[in-house]
Symmetry: C2
Subunit: 462 residues, 2 copies
C-alpha cells in the first residue's frame, strides 16, 4: 500500500527556496492543516519515519539540559520546529515559542473528576477501518502517536494515559479542536440571541462587506458552507494560506512587505468563489471570521469570552491559552492550548447539555443545535471517504451514527469525542507525523466507538 509522505515535509521541501518569512510561516500552516487535506490511503504507522516510541521527544532529547546542546534545540525561527519528529516536542510548548494570551480558570479550586479506572480497557479489541486484523486499544495509542488520552464515563475518569511530551500538569496544542471551541461560543451566542445566525456577516462587520464573507450568513460560516477563494494546499506556493500565515505572523515582516498584518486584516481581502450555502469547505478562515463576529458582538475576544463564560465555570484545573497575531487577536481557528483533563471537562459540559452542577453554563439549545448537525449533502460534496454520512455544524463534526456521536478534530490527532448515548467523553492529544486525520481515523474512530459501546454494555450488565 503506497504511503503518503507527510504533507508538511512536502511543503517544507518546496519552501526551502522561499523567503524566510514564508518558511517561518510553515508552523502556523501546520496548525491549520485539515482533516480533509489528506485523503490518501491510511498510513501504516510502521511505515512512518519513526514509531511513537522511537520518536518520543524525551528519548530524542529535544530541549533537554541547561542549556540544551545546539543540535537538540528547537527554535521558532528555524523552519522545522513543527516538522516530525520535532513536532512531538513542540505540540506541548507553543507558549515557549510564540506570543500568547491566557485563559484563567480563576482563583477557586478545580472541580475534582471522580476516578474509577477500568483496567480492562487496554485489552479491548477493535478492527481498524480497511484492515482485516484486529488491534487492541492499548496498541492504538502508539499507532496514533497519542500524547495523552482520557476517557470519561458518566463524568467519571475510567481511563487516563500520558506519553511523549505530555503529562497531567502539561498543556498541548489543540490545533483545530480550537475551531469547535470557537463554534461552541458562537452557538452559545446564537442561542442567547446575541448573534442572529440569519444575518449577513457584512451587516455585523462592515469591514468585511466587500469580502467574500460580506453576503454570507453567520449560519453559513458556522457550517463552513461559505464560498471562498482560499486554498490550504501547502504544495502550491500561490495558495492563499501563505498570505494568511504571513498576515498572522508575529515575526518581523520582510523588507517591503505591504500585505495585511493581522488575521482580521487578511479576512478583508478574501474573495468569493462560487455560491454560499451549497458545499462544505473546511477552511480555517471561517473560524477566524466567526471569532471576529463574536468579538464585535460581545466586545470580548474568544479568549476573554471562553474565560468568563466557560473556563471559570467548569472547574478547570489549569489555565489555558491561545497563540495570537501581532494585534493580540487569539487564533480562533487553531491557537488554543490546554490541559487534557480540562479538554475532557469541556466534553462533559456538552454531554451534560451545558450544565455544571445543575447550573446552566451553555444553553442546551446551543448543544442541541450542534448535535442535530448540518447539511449532510453539502458535507458529502467535500469528499471525506472515511466520514461518509457525517456533517458539520457549529464547527463540530457530527457522525450521525446510531449513538449520535460527534467530535472536535485537530490535525495530528487532537480529538474531543462525545457519545451521548453511551455517556462517554474521550479527549485526546496527539502528535501524529501525518498532518491530516485520515491517517489516524482508521485506528481512531473504531477504537473510540468500541470503548464507548463497551462502557455502555458494562454498565448495562451491572
Amino acid at each position: 500500500m503506497p504511503v503518503s509522505r507527510p504533507r508538511i515535509a512536502l511543503s517544507r521541501a518546496r519552501l526551502s527556496q522561499a523567503s524566510p518569512r514564508a518558511r517561518l510561516a510553515v508552523a502556523l500552516v501546520a496548525m491549520l492543516a485539515l482533516p480533509g487535506a489528506t485523503t490518501a490511503a491510511p498510513v501504516s504507522p510502521a511505515s512512518s519515519p519513526l514509531s511513537a516510541e522511537a520518536s518520543d521527544p524525551k528519548l530524542l532529547g529535544w530541549m533537554q539540559g541547561a542549556p540544551p546542546p545546539e543540535d537538540k534545540r528547537i527554535r521558532y525561527t528555524d523552519d522545522d520546529y513543527f516538522s516530525f519528529p520535532k513536532l512531538r516536542w513542540t505540540a506541548c510548548h507553543f507558549r515557549q515559542l510564540m506570543p500568547t494570551v491566557g485563559v484563567s480558570r480563576g482563583a477557586g479550586a478545580a472541580r475534582a473528576l471522580p476516578r474509577r479506572l477500568d483496567a480492562a480497557i487496554d485489552a479491548l479489541s477493535f478492527t481498524p477501518t480497511g484492515s482485516s486484523t484486529g488491534m487492541t486499544w492499548a496498541q492504538s495509542l502508539s499507532a496514533n502517536y497519542t500524547d495523552g488520552i482520557v476517557v470519561l464515563h458518566d463524568g467519571v475518569v475510567v481511563y487516563e494515559r500520558y506519553s511523549g511530551c505530555l503529562d497531567e500538569q502539561g498543556q498541548h496544542g489543540a490545533m483545530s479542536v480550537t475551531k469547535s471551541i470557537t463554534g461552541l461560543l458562537g452557538e452559545m451566542l446564537v442561542a442567547e440571541g446575541v448573534i442572529d445566525e440569519t444575518q449577513r456577516v457584512g451587516a455585523i462587520i462592515p469591514e468585511l462587506k466587500d469580502s467574500a464573507f460580506g453576503d454570507a450568513t453567520v449560519k453559513q460560516v458556522l457550517e463552513m458552507t461559505t464560498a471562498l477563494r482560499y486554498s490550504e494546499d501547502y504544495a502550491d506556493p500561490n495558495a492563499e494560506v501563505w498570505a494568511y500565515a504571513a498576515a498572522g505572523s508575529t515575526l518581523p515582516p520582510p523588507a517591503g512587505y505591504t500585505g495585511p498584518r493581522s488575521y482580521y486584516d487578511y479576512l478583508k481581502t478574501v474573495q468569493k468563489q462560487g455560491r454560499h450555502g451549497e458545499a462544505f469547505g473546511y477552511k480555517t478562515i471561517n473560524t477566524d471570521a466567526l471569532g471576529w463576529i463574536i468579538a464585535r458582538r460581545t466586545g470580548q475576544s474568544v479568549a476573554q469570552l471562553l474565560q468568563s463564560r466557560i473556563w471559570q465555570r467548569i472547574g478547570a484545573e489549569q489555565d489555558a491559552y491561545y497563540t495570537v497575531d501581532s494585534t493580540g487577536t487569539p487564533f480562533a481557528g487553531g491557537g488554543f492550548n490546554a490541559g487534557l483533563r480540562d479538554l475532557a471537562r469541556v466534553g462533559q459540559l456538552l454531554l451534560d447539555e451545558g450544565k455544571v452542577d445543575g447550573q446552566t453554563v451553555v444553553p442546551a439549545a446551543a448543544i442541541d443545535r450542534i448535535r442535530a448537525g448540518g447539511n449532510t449533502q453539502a458535507f458529502a460534496k467535500a469528499g471525506y471517504p472515511q466520514l461518509s454520512g457525517w456533517s458539520y455544524r457549529g464547527m463540530w463534526w457530527i457522525s450521525h451514527n446510531d449513538h449520535g456521536a460527534y467530535m472536535a478534530r485537530g490535525v495530528h490527532g487532537q480529538a474531543l469525542y462525545i457519545d451521548p448515548t453511551a455517556r462517554v467523553v474521550i479527549a485526546r492529544f496527539g502528535s501524529h507525523p501525518v498532518a491530516g486525520n485520515s491517517a489516524n481515523d482508521p485506528t481512531t474512530l473504531p477504537a473510540f466507538d468500541a470503548v464507548a459501546r463497551y462502557l455502555m454494555e458494562r454498565d448495562r450488565g451491572q
Copy 2:
C-alpha cells in the same frame, strides 16, 4: 532643576541607525535597566512628557478594538514597544508579545488575603526626598506612575489600588524584582546545603570556568561583587549589554550572526575586569549566572523551582510566567510577570520568616541572611546617593534603617518592600517614564516608610 530625559528614549535615538535586531533588542534592555543606571537628579513628574493620568494606556487607546487601528497597535517587532508611553500598556502584556513559560499555582484554591481597608492612608503626608513641600500618599501614586499597589499589615490588606494597564486579575512585568525572586531561590538552596556559597562558579558550571565567573564565588554572585567587564550603558553602541540582548533574543538573527544564541551561551563569553569581592556592581548577568547555578544544582529552571517550591505553596491566586530566550531558559534577571497580590504574598512569606500557615516553605536562615545584608562598604563604591548606607545581598536591597526594611526593586517602579518591624509589606507595579528608580525613589521611599510607621503607630494606639 534640570530634568534627565528617559534613557530609553536616548538609546532609541542612537539606535535608529543600528541593525533591526539591535533595535528590537531595546525592550529586553529596558527590562534590564537598573536602579543605578540613572543617578541624575529626581525627575519632576510635571516635567515628564505626559502625566500618569494623561498617559493612561486606556485613554491613549493602545491595542483597543477588534482589530485595533493601525496607529494604536503595539508590536514586538517595532522598536518602540517599550518606550514611554507605550510601555504603560506593554508592562501588563509581555506574554502577548513574546515567548514565555508558565509558573502554575496548582489546582487548589487561592489562599484568601484578609481585608481591612484603611481609608486614612490616602491622606497620609510625607516629604519627598530633596523637597521642601509635602505630598500625600494618594498624590504619590500618580507621581510614581503606579499601575497597582497593595499594602499588607500583619498579613491583612489595608490598601489596594489599580490603575493604568493593571487590575486585580491582570499581570505585570516585575522587571528587576525578578532578580530578588531568583536570589530568594538561591539563598534557599544555600540554606538547605544544595548550593555551597563558598564554591567557585567554575566548579559548579565547568562551561563558565574560563569566563569572569569562573573564579568568582557563589556568594560574590549573590552580592553582585563580581568583577565583570560588562556595561549596561545604553548610550554606548559597544556596550556589552547589546551582545547580551542579541543572545537572548527570540527573533530571527541577522544574516551572518555567529554570536551566542542564549543567555547561558553569552555568559561564557564574559571577561573579568578588576578583582572579585571588592565593589558592588549591579549587573543583570549575575542573576542569570545564579539562575544557571540553580538549574545545574537542582535540574530545574528558576521557573520550575519557583513553581514547585513557592508558587504552589503560598496560595497564589494567579499563575505567573517568565519570558524566555530561544532555549526556553527563563530570564532570571528580569523576565518574571505576576499578579500584584501574589507578589505581595511573596513579601508576606519573607515577613513570616518563610512560613505559610505554620509550614516552612523557605528556611528562616535564608531570609535572615538576606535581612542581614551584604557589605555596605562594597555597596557604597557603586555610588547611589539616595541609597546611602544600604547594601545588597541575595539580590535584595537592604536599607539597614532602624526598621530593618529591605526591598526588591525593578526599573520603572516595580517594588516589593518589607518592613519587619512594622510588619508591613508593600507590593507595587509601575510604569514610570524614566528607566531608573532614582527618578521615583524621592516619592517612593519616604512614602513607604511613612505608611509603615503610620500602621505601626495606629496599632500601638489600639
